[in-house]
Amino acid sequence: MTTQLFAQQRDDGTVDAGVVKKRAIQCALSRICGSCGKSLTWPVAFVGSAEEAAALLFAFPPLHPSCAEELLRDAPGEQVLVRTGGFELVRPTRRGDPVSFRPNSVIEDD
């Protein structure tokens, strides 16, 4: 993910190479896209590694399907896209750990 995404922007305007925890929580609760920061639509998309997709546990916040496809174009072959109706915000059990996201109603590709 090479472009500056909403979930990577810190309060001071600098950019985090990973995900800013506060932004990730905001995306989950406010139902906004981790890429463009605008309100999500149905369905919701997640982008992550094949391992994340297999485990159904993503580090990057929910996205619009179109924003997700744009991210995939930036990293072809490395990322997987999963569509879902809903998801759960998984808060960390240890201090300092990031939050993650678990899709709960995956829409299978035709």
Binding site: F6, D11, K22, I25, Q26, L29, S30, R31, I32, C36, G37, K38, S39, L40, T41, W42, P43, V44, T84, G85, G86, F87, E88, L89, R91, P92, T93, R94, R95, G96, N104, S105, I107
Partner: protein, 397 residues
């Protein structure tokens, strides 16, 4: 001050806090795994009832020249608005029904029958209120920017009018909610970016226009010569919804026993600590099944704050387990009859309208953190409100 120093937790060891977290995780898991057709049937049934109630109310108002029809139509319409706003709209926007994969009953698409745009609600309520629950300076639900609800908020002579502001807030609650995401406190202090404010106001203006057109022009016009009666019925139905929603929300966080926090207490908290903060910052009320339905199951406010995205119809069964857990770990579980809970809220509002020195012999139950630490907070130590917004609003800056 570390989170573990919060008075209500000090008897718990780190291992016990983690064990509580695991038990609550298990409760959540059980609901997630059993979530299915019965829950889907529940929400579809409630939506059907709500729509029929609204239609019946509107139709009855065609006979509003006959006073009992006016009364009946108004009550049906008011009840439909209450159901739509609290049990359906509020809970859908939390994502409680997203798992059904129904694009209509989805947190992203639901627009509710009230003046606040859903998008602003999802920021001010779902994020700010639920993430920073009862954190002074962050959670704008603490007094809605106009009421002093804890001694951690500095007293000002304007607070003397609190009983009046409180009554006005109850009557015009829809409008208080509409302006909620503007952050009245920041506007008052001149800290609000005028461009962001303008953009938010424009969105509110559009939503208010739609609501006003529906309730005060189109439906009254449809009833022809009885338009004025229909208009007053619609206004009364909105008033009914306002007062009830105010009551439900204020009883969720301000009765005796609900704790306020400061920012330092939530710095990098774990899931177990987050659970505990939600439990201590919220209060339930008791009532019949109908009372719980009409309050969007927010009589189970503690359970709602623990699991805001689980289906509301499951909160009653979750409450039994949470109450048992609180008993075993000696954690406060604040609950009581609705009337008693509201009287406690009202008492706090009255007491805090006065300077602290006048109530020092009988302080409100929401003791300030500064006093718990043996001293009073200075103004510069009082927390500042959160200012971040979603891209939609912040891009105007």
């Amino acid at each position: 001050m570390a989170f573990s120093d919060v008075r209500e937790y000090t008897h718990l060891t780190d291992e016990e806090v983690e064990a509580i977290g695991r038990e609550l995780d298990q409760i959540r898991k059980e609901i997630e795994e059993s979530r299915g057709q019965a829950d889907r049937d529940y929400i579809l049934r409630i939506i059907k009832i709500q729509r029929r109630l609204a239609a019946a109310g509107r139709i009855t108002l065609f006979a509003s020249f006959f006073p009992p029809a006016w009364l009946l139509g108004t009550v049906m319409l008011g009840s439909a608005k209450i159901l739509e706003n609290i049990e359906i709209g509020h809970n859908t926007m939390h994502g409680q029904w997203d798992w059904m994969n129904d694009p209509e009953i989805h947190s992203s698409n639901w627009e509710w029958d009230t003046t606040q745009p859903a998008e602003q609600w999802k920021h001010s309520h779902n994020y700010i209120h639920h993430q920073f629950t009862n954190v002074i300076g962050h959670d704008n639900d603490i007094g809605y920017g106009i009421l002093r609800m804890t001694r951690d908020q500095k007293w000002h002579p304007v607070n003397l009018g609190q009983p009046v502001y409180n009554a006005l807030l109850a009557l015009f609650f829809e409008w208080g909610v509409a302006l909620h995401d503007l952050d009245i406190g920041a506007i008052r202090k001149g800290e609000k970016n005028p461009k962001v404010l303008k953009r938010q106001l424009k969105q509110i203006y559009k939503k208010v226009g739609k609501q006003a057109l529906k309730d005060y022009i189109v439906y009254p016009a449809l009833t022809g010569p009885f338009w004025l009666r229909t208009l007053t019925a619609n206004a009364t139905a909105n008033l009914m919804r306002n007062v009830w929603a105010y009551l439900v929300i204020f009883c969720g966080h301000f009765p005796d026993g609900a704790v306020h926090f400061t920012e330092e207490e939530l710095e990098d908290e774990t899931r177990a600590e987050w659970y505990l903060r939600q439990m201590l910052g919220s209060a339930n009320f008791e009532g019949s099944k109908l009372t719980h339905l009409m309050s969007g199951q927010l009589g189970y406010q503690i359970e709602h704050h623990l699991f805001p995205d689980l289906p509301s119809n499951r909160y009653a069964e979750v409450a039994v387990k949470v109450k048992d857990l609180c008993k075993r770990y000696d954690i406060p579980y604040t609950t009581g009859p609705l009337g008693r809970q509201y009287m406690q809220v009202l008492r706090t509002i009255m007491k805090l309208s006065l300077p602290d020195k006048l109530t020092s012999h009988d302080p409100p139950p929401t003791a300030p953190r500064g006093e718990q630490r043996g001293r009073r907070l200075k103004d510069e130590e009082r927390p500042r409100a959160r200012s971040e917004l979603g891209h939609w609003s912040s891009s105007a800056a």
